[in-house]
Symmetry: C2
Subunit: 199 residues, 2 copies
Amino acid sequence: MIRSISSKRQVEPAASSGVDIERQLHEAQDTFIRRWGEMGATWGINRTMAEIHALLYITAQPLCTDDVMARLHISRGNASMSLRALCDWGIIHRMHRRGQRREYFESLSDVWEIFSIIASERKRREMDPVLETIKQCQRMLGEGQIGQSAAQRSDVLATRRRLEGMEEFMVVTNKIFQQFVGGAKAGLNKVVRLLLKAF
Amino acid sequence: MIRSISSKRQVEPAASSGVDIERQLHEAQDTFIRRWGEMGATWGINRTMAEIHALLYITAQPLCTDDVMARLHISRGNASMSLRALCDWGIIHRMHRRGQRREYFESLSDVWEIFSIIASERKRREMDPVLETIKQCQRMLGEGQIGQSAAQRSDVLATRRRLEGMEEFMVVTNKIFQQFVGGAKAGLNKVVRLLLKAF
DNA sequence: CCATAGTTTCAGTATCTACTGAAACTATAG
DNA sequence: CTATAGTTTCAGTAGATACTGAAACTATGG
């Protein structure tokens, strides 16, 4: 019996059925989706949102809310809200099919664009507040440091220098970042072109 | 009464006491530490570790475990383990003071170096596995796609194209990244110099 | 070998975030 | 207006992570 199965495989190497192919495609997609979700989770994007996006990206087809629910085993509320959030970010789009009331969603196809959107959002929400805090700290240390002991003076100076170091780093990083992001929207960007030329 | 207070301030503008200065420094440092901890949390570095590092960075002084515990109100176990983890990462160092058995810790002072260490670690833990998964998916779709319907063939091809798009993006991003990181260790790096020249 | 400083482990707990399932609400076609 | 598709809200809960406090363990100086 075992032999007959394996011999069958040998006889019909190219005859994998349509069902097999579909299952294989499905499995490959799920592998990608799962990994993408895990990565998203450690990047401050919640797992489900990352998975929905991965699904739309990898299938390269418009799917409706029920498709997403079924494929990822999530509730209607979750699917609906997550899809809306992804639309708000602009990394997926709503799509109508004429003659159908039902709405479909599809992912942007350009990875550079997707990442530039995500990255800009993260910069705004995470880098900018830190820069603001650094400035605030600098203001707090800018006033009234006359008359203290030498030791205190040097402590204040040391902290100020550290704040400056951090500020400089973030400002420069932001500049690089904006080049990367701004350029990405116009296809292969300036930074990339420069780098590929240079190395 | 109110007037007398304000006039006193005018008369002695430079006479803020040593205690005031210390409190002010302390507050500014805490502000930074808190914000840094929040940022770390959304970046996959846990809040306490980020705070410990922020403390050592911003005070610019070697502190011992008990200092850290007291300043951040955390338990001995937590402090000890987090300090060890930071040492393992290499963004803080142990330091001995002669004649004392007690160990002190101090932060690297170069922000570029700190970030290149953190970033490399994140790349290794998060980007690399994704690249690996993409390759795995490609292998899964590389075999046995003969004999299926035209629709199935096109689905498989579409998914393959998406995998390729993602792979290309990650490979290029990794290259940029390594330049950034590798160069950072040698002070202002190649990427930065290129960019500052170009823009 | 003892005393002490320091480190690691761990069970229990607190905290946080995301998710479900249901209900309420809104929009549209007929 | 009614039926239906679709969206939003929310209370309760599940699951994950990180933290504490204590105990066990390790290393070192004397």
